[in-house]
């Protein structure tokens, strides 16, 4: 058992209480429990290798972010005429057509959000490594990242929808570009990175800081 300074706010966490939480069904299990008696999931005091995996996935996502933005996402051809478009050129085209709000939306969803997610993940991981930052903000950031994660599939979803729907032969077709695969990979890897990240580590880090 540890003792904490008196001026510090005192928490009792699961490990202190000899308890573990099943992250799948949120059942509180005994410390020695290997598998959750309710759902059968493996129960850990803290997720194993969480930091390393998160780093790896975040790094992967960051690397893939480059081709996702530089390579064409999709080609919309009308009468066999079509120019492969990257996310950015699509946004510019939208702006040229006067659809600034949609352009902003696309820009935000496709460029800014993934980037912020990546940066957020990196920030969180750094925070865990170097305790000291405000825990509240980190927790909020984590929640935002997880929440956004489900929406970042939107682009891919639209592209796959278009590719499936718009197949009118010579009149018009939509084909996904290699950038779409990179983009999908970015989305998937950032989600995985966020999932691999054990938020309890943040709390541990906060406690270390308090010490």
């Amino acid at each position: 058992m540890k003792t904490y300074p008196a001026d510090a706010q005192h928490w009792i966490n699961g490990s202190d209480a000899g308890l573990k939480l099943c992250l799948d069904c949120h059942k509180v299990c005994a410390e020695q429990t290997e598998r959750c008696p309710r759902c059968g999931a493996r129960v850990h005091q803290r997720r194993q290798n969480s930091i390393a995996r998160s780093w790896a996935l975040t790094l992967t996502a960051a690397l893939l972010y480059i081709p996702a933005n530089l390579l064409p996402m999709m080609t919309v051809s009308k009468f066999e005429e079509g120019q492969p478009q990257t996310i950015f050129s699509g946004v510019i085209e939208l702006v040229n057509h006067g659809m600034v709000p949609i352009a902003l939306l696309v820009f935000t969803a496709s460029v800014v959000v993934p980037l912020l997610k990546l940066l957020g993940m990196v920030w969180l991981l750094i925070c865990v490594r170097f305790p000291g930052a405000a825990m509240h903000r980190q927790q909020t950031l984590y929640r935002v990242i997880v929440w956004i994660g489900r929406w970042s599939m939107l682009d891919i979803f639209i592209i796959s929808l278009l590719v499936g729907l718009v197949q009118f032969g010579q009149l018009g077709t939509v084909t996904a570009g290699i950038g779409a695969y990179a983009f999908a990979s970015v989305v998937v890897t950032t989600m995985l990175a966020a999932m691999q990240f054990d938020p309890r580590l943040l709390w541990d880090a906060a406690e270390v800081k308090k010490l």
Binding site: R46, A56, L57, L70, L201
Partner: protein, 774 residues
């Protein structure tokens, strides 16, 4: 991990989970590899960025317009911007890396746009794929990154090897850049440019001949302007020459190499040729001069020179002689007709002439006047070249040495025959009229029968005039006679040769030219017929015997001394036996009357002359006859019983009245006359042969004309007549009391005015001749 529990623990955990960690770290490594590969790929595939200056940016789209080399995209427009001075457009191209060595100062760019013109559609592919920038690489120059685009596609000649020539023209006419050059209507090159010559006197047209056609151009090749429509000649000989629709609009140049000239060396690069105005001018032939008299009007258009219908040359231009004594025509003779330009060749103008006698030179009305030429075989063989000739205003007579049969025809008048009129045999032309001249007793016409047909003429040949149309006859059947259309219009002479075995004729033999085929074929016996009046008579009136035509009148004339009409008649070939003592002629003309209507057919067929040949076989020949104006009363009827009736009055008896026996007609009244002395009238009747037995010496005749009306108090009125016909036309009836010996011909009876009543009751059983009854 247990980072939260104690500090040293992570190290322990890390060691334990090493395997897991390395697997996870594979992901970023793979991602890194992918990124690195993508980056390398994009860098390696990035094009060479060059700038091309275009005059305008029309049709160029950023990001879309491709740069193509032989149809393959080798670059793309990545940017368009106005140049600093706003006079041109700077187009940024991203070129394929592989083009790096080809981007030199000799390389060229130009924009390809669809061009639809009459000359064809070019750049059709751009309609679908959009405009593109054509790239013509050249790796021999100095490498550079800035280019100036050509304003239009480079001319053909500069793209390939080939023959570049300069054509020197007086005027450009419809030639343009790109106008095609044709050889036998095949496009073998095009006009690459044109400019005024250095001295400003000509237009120099630069043409480019494709390499594979370069050998077609030789030093003697002629070029002419094939643009536009060229009309030459006149109506029938209208020549419309145009090489193609393209050249019609775009102009064009044609070339040919005269094949009659010996082989010339091939043309060199840059040779200068004259560009003729048209084909005819290019066809430089042999120049000859023909002197015509002043009155020969050759007209403005090019006059053709024909040799037996073949065009052998053209009159280029005409000029007055210095002393105004004539016209000199400068002619160009086709090189292949050079053999005809020898001493002895004759030229004359053929022009239309329309007169009352006919039309001659009809073809020139449509085809324009032309110069005809002729030269005899002898002269051709002699081959004495000559370049200056004397022309004639009209066709000369064939030279006596010309092959064929030369004949002289004597005629009363020319009647439509003129120079060149055809001589026809079975309506086929076998010769022509060469000349005609006036003589003391008519006209002498010289004709030439072609050698191939001269065997058709011999001493039995007969010639007649077939000029124009002859109408013969009137109502009795008319005929239209015309030789051929040509002879109808241009006059003509026909002949035939009845006896092929007759002796051959020599050149210069004379014949008579008859006015018509009839006259030519009058071979029968001529007789003279004398008429009291010519009424109803005309030339051609037929002479018939028993309905068969045996001759016709050929001439009518008035004998002033005698006051009668003398007609010449021609008897048919085998009808000469008519012209003997004892033959009788009379007119058969329509008779209309209440009592007697006869010969109605003559109303339609016309009057004719009936002949009754004399019966005596040994009669002397006679050629002059008087024609009775009506059927003779005493005409002996070969068939039947001829009787005479004696009557105090003729009454209503007329010629042709029937003779009734029991109200059946058995004969006719053939005539009547006053007896001599004139105390009574003689009526000639004829009883049909079959009824001959009905007449005996006891027969009684009475006048059956009129109506016999009897009145009785109880019987009422009784009207009787032999027949309605007899009532109207009159007639004679007879009765016989008993069978008896038939009377001889010429027996005379007295005719009673009316029958006695017992005559009507006689009913003898006389048998009628059986063989004649059916």
């Amino acid at each position: 991990m247990n980072q939260n529990t104690s500090a040293p623990e992570p190290a322990r955990a890390n060691i334990k989970k090493r395997g897991n960690l390395s697997l996870v770290w594979l992901l970023p490594v793979v991602a890194l590899l992918i990124v690195v590969w993508l980056v390398w790929k994009s860098i390696s595939e990035a094009g060479i960025v060059i700038d091309v200056e275009f005059q305008n940016g029309r049709g160029i789209k950023q990001g879309k317009t491709e740069v193509r080399l032989n149809g393959i995209a080798v670059g793309r427009v990545t940017g368009i911007a106005m140049s600093d001075d706003l006079k041109s457009v700077d187009v940024t191209l991203e070129m394929d890396r592989r083009m790096s060595t080809s981007l030199t100062d000799k390389s060229r760019f130009w924009l390809v746009r669809p061009q639809v013109s009459v000359a064809g559609i070019s750049g059709l592919d751009t309609l679908v794929s959009g405009n593109y920038i054509a790239f013509q690489p050249d790796d021999t120059g100095i490498k550079r990154k800035k280019f100036i685009a050509l304003p239009s596609p480079p001319p053909l000649g500069e793209q390939e090897d080939g023959l570049s020539l300069t054509l020197r023209a007086k005027e450009l006419s419809s030639i343009q850049n790109g106008s095609p050059v044709y050889y036998r209507r095949l496009k073998i090159g095009e006009v690459s440019s044109y400019d005024l010559s250095v001295d400003d006197q000509y237009v120099d047209v630069e043409v480019f001949i494709q390499p594979r056609f370069a050998h077609l151009v030789r030093r003697n090749t002629r070029f002419w302007n094939a643009g536009g429509v060229e009309l030459s000649g006149s109506l029938t000989n209208l020549k419309v020459r145009t090489q193609s629709i393209v050249s019609l609009v775009q102009g064009g140049v044609s070339l040919y190499t005269p094949d009659w000239e010996q082989e010339f060396p091939e043309a060199y690069q840059g040779d200068v040729f004259p560009l003729y105005r048209d084909y005819d001018e290019a066809e430089a032939g042999i120049a000859v001069e023909i002197d015509f008299p002043l009155d020969v009007a050759l007209g403005q258009e090019k006059t053709r020179i024909l040799f037996h219908g073949m065009e052998v040359g053209l009159i280029r231009d005409i000029e007055l002689k210095d002393d105004y004594s004539g016209i000199t025509a400068n002619a160009v003779i086709r090189p292949d007709a050079v053999n005809l330009m020898v001493k002895g060749a004759r030229f004359w103008l053929v022009k239309p002439s329309i007169g009352l006698q006919g039309i001659s030179g009809l073809e020139t009305l449509l085809g324009g006047r032309y110069i005809n030429m002729d030269v005899s075989n002898k002269d051709i063989k002699a081959a004495v070249p000559k370049r200056r000739f004397n022309g004639l205003a009209s066709q000369p007579a064939a030279s006596p040495s010309a092959p064929g049969l030369h004949l002289k025809l004597r005629a009363d008048s020319l009647a439509g025959v003129s120079h060149g009129s055809p001589v026809l045999f079975r309506k086929m032309q076998v010769g022509s009229v060469q000349s005609h001249e006036l003589t003391d007793d008519g006209v002498l016409i010289k004709i030439l029968v072609d050698p191939a047909y001269q065997h058709l003429v011999n001493h039995s040949s007969r010639f007649w005039n077939v000029s124009g149309i002859t109408l013969h006859g009137g109502l009795q059947g008319f005929s239209i006679k015309a030789g051929t259309l040509n002879s109808m219009l241009a006059g003509g002479i026909a002949f035939d040769t009845p006896d092929r075995t007759s002796g051959k004729v020599k050149n210069g033999t004379g014949f008579t030219l008859y006015d018509s085929t009839e006259k030519a074929h009058q071979f029968g016996q001529k007789i003279s017929l004398i008429f009291e009046t010519a009424e109803g008579l005309q030339v051609g009136t037929k002479i018939k015997y028993k309905g068969l035509v045996v001759g016709h009148l050929t001439d009518l004339k008035l004998d002033k001394q005698e006051g009668h009409i003398v007609a010449d008649a021609l008897l048919g070939k085998s009808s000469g036996w008519v012209a003997h003592e004892g033959s009788r002629f009379w007119m058969v003309r329509p008779r209309l009357g209440l009592a007697n209507t006869a010969n109605l057919e003559t109303l339609v067929t016309g009057q004719y002359i009936e002949v009754l040949p004399g019966s005596r076989q040994d009669a002397a020949a006679k050629t002059r006859f008087s024609v009775e104006m009506a059927v003779p009363d005493d005409l002996p009827v070969n068939n039947g019983l001829r009787l005479q009736l004696v009557s105090s009055q003729l009454g209503s008896v007329r010629r042709g009245n029937p003779i009734y026996y029991r109200e059946i007609p058995v004969g006719t009244v053939t005539g009547y006359r006053l007896a001599d002395p004139a105390s009574h009238v003689l009526i000639f009747i004829n009883i049909e042969e079959r009824y001959r037995s009905l007449v005996t010496s006891k027969s009684r005749f009475w006048n059956a004309s009129g109506i016999d009306v009897k009145f009785g108090l109880f019987s009422g009125a009784k009207i009787r007549t032999e027949s309605l016909e007899a009532l109207l036309a009159g007639g004679i009836a007879f009765a016989t009391p008993e069978p008896g010996e038939p009377v001889a011909a010429g027996h005379q009876f007295t005719m009673a005015e009316e029958p006695e009543s017992q005559w009507l009751r006689w009913a003898p059983a006389i048998s009628i001749s059986q063989e004649m009854s059916h």
